[in-house]
């Protein structure tokens, strides 16, 4: 194959940078969830890329587990955002002032 490992790792680093930028700058709870998704995908890309270039099926297996767990994380995260939205009528995390109840 003509693509090398380093190319995939560079794309993964770019996605990680974009995700961290989103987490640092955005105050919108849903956009922060987008950033987390982008970071998780960068990690999965790394796992599969290294799994392809270092022989063995472990990389793909771990990526499959990671995708499964990420699905659970998004479901809980979105439910938390909906609860917070119903309490504060806003999705700006600066407005979520108290965590009680």
């Amino acid at each position: 194959m003509s693509n090398e490992l380093i190319d995939f790792v560079i794309v993964s680093v770019a996605l990680l940078g974009i995700g961290i930028y989103g987490l640092a700058v955005k105050r919108n709870a849903i956009r922060m969830l987008f950033s987390i998704e982008i970071i998780i995908n960068a990690a999965n890309l790394n796992l599969v890329a290294f799994g392809r270039f270092i022989p063995g099926s472990e990389g793909q297996t771990l990526a499959l587990f990671s995708i499964g767990i990420a699905a659970a994380e998004v479901a809980v995260g979105l439910a938390l955002i909906i609860v917070a939205y119903r309490m504060y009528k806003n999705i700006d995390i600066a407005e979520f002032r108290s965590l009680k109840g």
Binding site: M1, S2, N3, E4, I6, D7, V9, I10, V11, V13, A14, L15, G17, G19, I20, Y21, G22, V25, R27, N28, I30, R31, L33, F34, S35, E37, I38, N41, N44, L45, V48, A49, R52, F53, I54, P55, S57, Q60, A63, L64, F65, I67, G68, I69, A71, V74, A75, V76, L78, A79, L80, I82, V83, Y85, R86, M87, Y88, I91, D92, G101
Partner: protein, 170 residues
């Protein structure tokens, strides 16, 4: 040297990832996120991992992106189009991103990763299936329980009807 498919996929994935964070409308943002997740599935196909690519499309593009889209639609119209961010933090965030990319990028370029090439045939996906039901079966059961618990917890959280009353009492 990279091929054209790789270049096109990189532009698609990184461009839609930026668009997902920067588009004014959250709905278009979530559609852009869907494009980014689909681009990652394309990378998996380039890496000869069709099983993971199909899993990525089924779980991420098919369910997570749609779940996010429906959550966005539950939010008030004004909030969807409102850009909520710290203007002061924006430049600091861009600086942090660039420092991170250049720092980690230079470390990676200096490492020995460039020399790694492979002539190995791709892993057969049947081997992954066999791995799942033999060596990894406890992890598979644990993941099933975690998923069931997470979905139940999400439903319980989202269906709570007392939160608005409590907020009013506060």
């Amino acid at each position: 040297m990279v091929d054209a498919a790789f270049l096109a996929l990189s532009v698609l994935t990184i461009g839609t990832a930026i668009a997902a964070l920067e588009m004014r409308s959250l709905i278009y943002g979530s559609i852009a996120l869907m494009g980014s997740l689909g681009g990652i599935a394309g990378f998996f196909l380039l890496l000869d991992s069709p099983f993971v690519a199909m899993f990525q499309i089924a779980v991420y593009v098919g369910s997570i992106a749609v779940l996010i889209l429906f959550t966005v639609m539950l939010v008030k119209r004004e909030l969807i189009f409102q850009k909520i961010e710290d203007p002061k933090r924006k430049f600091a965030g861009i600086g942090l991103m660039l420092v991170l990319m250049v720092g980690i990028g230079s470390i990676i370029l200096d490492s020995g990763l460039k020399t790694i090439v492979t002539d190995e045939p791709a892993v057969d996906y049947r081997e992954i299936g066999v791995d799942f039901v033999t060596y990894y079966w406890p992890a598979l059961i644990a993941m099933a329980l975690i998923l069931a618990g997470a979905v139940t917890g999400a439903l319980v959280l989202a269906r709570r009807e007392d939160v608005e009353d409590e907020q009013r009492a506060n």
